[in-house]
Symmetry: C2
Subunit: 519 residues, 2 copies
Amino acid sequence: MDFSIIGFARGEDHSSSFQAINPVTGEASMQSYAHATLSELETACSLAKKASTILANMPGVRKADFLECVADRIDARVEDLVKVMTFESGLPEARVRAEAGRTCGQLRMFAGMVRKGDWVQARIDQAQPDRKPLPKPDLRSMLRPIGPVAVFCASNFPLAYSVAGGDSASAWAAGCPVIVKAHHAHPGTALVVAEAVVEAVKSCGFPEGTFSMLYGDGRKLGKELVMHPFIKAVGFTGSRAGGRALFDLASSRVEPIAVFAEMSSVNPVFVLPGLMEDKLTGFVSGLAGSATLGNGQFCTNPGIVFHPDGPLGDRLLSEYVDRLKDIPPCPMLHAGIREAYVNGLDRLSSIEGVKVAYRAVVPSGSGGCDVGPCVLSVSLADFLASKKISDEVFGPSTLLVSYSSTDQLLEVVQGLEGQLTTSLFGEVADLKANADLVALLEATVGRMLFNQFPTGVEVCGAIVHGGPYPATTDGQSTSVGERAIYRFVRPVCFQGFPEEALPDELKEGNPLGIKRMDA
Amino acid sequence: MDFSIIGFARGEDHSSSFQAINPVTGEASMQSYAHATLSELETACSLAKKASTILANMPGVRKADFLECVADRIDARVEDLVKVMTFESGLPEARVRAEAGRTCGQLRMFAGMVRKGDWVQARIDQAQPDRKPLPKPDLRSMLRPIGPVAVFCASNFPLAYSVAGGDSASAWAAGCPVIVKAHHAHPGTALVVAEAVVEAVKSCGFPEGTFSMLYGDGRKLGKELVMHPFIKAVGFTGSRAGGRALFDLASSRVEPIAVFAEMSSVNPVFVLPGLMEDKLTGFVSGLAGSATLGNGQFCTNPGIVFHPDGPLGDRLLSEYVDRLKDIPPCPMLHAGIREAYVNGLDRLSSIEGVKVAYRAVVPSGSGGCDVGPCVLSVSLADFLASKKISDEVFGPSTLLVSYSSTDQLLEVVQGLEGQLTTSLFGEVADLKANADLVALLEATVGRMLFNQFPTGVEVCGAIVHGGPYPATTDGQSTSVGERAIYRFVRPVCFQGFPEEALPDELKEGNPLGIKRMDA
């Protein structure tokens, strides 16, 4: 039996437990994992609260050392991760190695950012004691950590958006303690990473409450975690229903807190009339790759494609179907995702005017999780007639929508919900000719792509992985890239404070040598 | 009869109307003001939505011209404002002129900010087409406007946090249309400013939906405004109940939106043991000035003062009472505020252990709004024993709490709700000796002051006027100063976009010459 990690200790109560299920074989894990109790949760929250003022005043270089140490410790456990994560997720070894690399890369990116220190947006207004009619006081402000953060592990990123993934990394970088709610589908993967984190906390001399990891049901233990008064923000990647439930809970608190839930997106693709015939095959091949990458289980999966009708559109559809027919069935991450995918396709197929151009007939496999890709088509008129047609179907399906004039697309975008991304394909002249469409789309999404597909999110300074609701619950944020740190901070101002009592970032001589705004 | 301003038109329905009441004399205004209808609200929202993509793509210099034009037009109407605002608010002429100056100063500050253009936090990641194993795409991101913003006018700042106050100015600067809900207590003041804004919108060639102003009940029309799907964020300054109600509404929407409500704060003052006897009289005089400024009707009013017990504390109390006895009765901004103040004092006085050291006996006056200052005292033990004792009493009252050791203050701060400010008085050595207290306070407030009083908020780059709930509904924001613009934006990323289709801020050659982060 394995237990939750409560600071430097382990949970003890084993009255309720669960096992991981291999989605390929249906086999249960040898190991069982005990659900955390409310008293274990309480201890984790108290430790986090105690740690929060210590972490808040930890110098950037020490936070950087810690983040790099976590990355090093994860690197050292990659062979363990390959073993347990391929079992728990059904994902291939190469994906495990790539995702571990991305996870460590994220940790090191935030380490670099806090080592440099500019990110705190220090602003200094010098005193003007002789100003008339009133003297101006000395005012200095910077971004400071918000307090303990609850992180919910994602099903589709057992490493990169789980225990030491982007949410945790950015929260630690900001100076916030983290309490992770592990995902029930990959408790063993979570444990390997959690052990690496605890080693790093100890070896860097960080406070015990820097990190805890709890096993438990999202609707029970997860709810208690979000409602706990010591928790000051929530990071989540998952379903729309799950994210909204957490948001509603957090908003109902006596002290409401921010929920940064990255939830759902159909990532619409617009093939503009300028896409030349000679580029069509390249487009189809790129779309097939993007739509089936990771078996369609990425938030940025392109789910709906608008294309001109007529011969070019017909060719696009038939070439695309031919491509997808070559893609073998593959297990989803767990049985629940498979079920939602199958139900989603049934729902879509039954909408007036929707034609199933290709739907692989796939037995559910030994693990009960196998699915194949699906291509559906519909006319723009029928698309506009249905309200539910643009709801996300999570998995390797694509809805192709044929339009006769780009003017019609304006109506589409007016009715579109918030999205993580949109991709426009065509010539530069198409963007100019459709400036209204581009402007409307910009107000609807977090990332605009031109002649590129949305999957394969680059982790860097300029990336935005966010977007208006329901892409996220907080459209002012991104969960990927350097900007993600800004979810877990708030500005604090010091007025008339003596040099000795100011944070280093705000001291007169700028001892850290960071970029500041002075006035 | 005067009507709401719906873009360039006026409301028409006069089935329901109201008048302003002079709080000094009780006299009703000559003019009546018609409540906006739901159809007028609908028109205002549609105009705002239409304007939003135009404003989003308005160059910074044109937004700066507009903001400066609004300021100029308000400047030109100051004599009108003196007339109507002294009538409606009972505030003296000097205050009207000062607040008009602050309002225009804010508009010009944001103008300067958007003219310079650095504020958009542009980030550029250059493409690396030869990177292995995968090429890196070109990624560029910046902050973009969030869409139409609803602004609720504050009762205590008829100019600086009303029609063209800090919320509106920062929203326009960000590139967002604004729909203002005028405060029922100063409809005439609102109208003068609104006319100035409309003139500026026209003269700058801005779209009609840049601005509308609605008269109406907060709980009816205000609710409809917050629930309207075209509204993307809310700015509010007012009571805790009012702000929370708007927050709950906004959170219950199909598409939840952010509410930036600045609500309540007791702005605790800590007199540390190092405050020398020779500085006591200066402290008392400063406290009296700060606590009764604007008749105590500022969000940053210092409502609770913790001081050492013993002879120094006794002297502080008696000197403070002597000071306040000299302060004449004065009308509150409207009868509702007076009533809440009187009830608040009754509530406070009835708490176990609270002694009324001084409470001016004041007839309510011709306008029914007059009140006088009040001083209450309590021991720390009794303070800690009551949960409700630290709730805000809006007005010129001060609760003095005597403590015997600074260790006790840690317990106070642990139990303290979020605050806009805290002020520490003493010697530099006090800050060092009480580092734990200072660290805990920092996690609780938006602004920390040393040997200064919190009223007289400086409008500048470094100021923070915000704080954890219930100081505001969004502790990550400030409603005053340059940082206030960040409430109304969200990051948008452009991937692989051609130079011609990028915003100027992200173009390769940096034609605007703004500061950017490049990688």
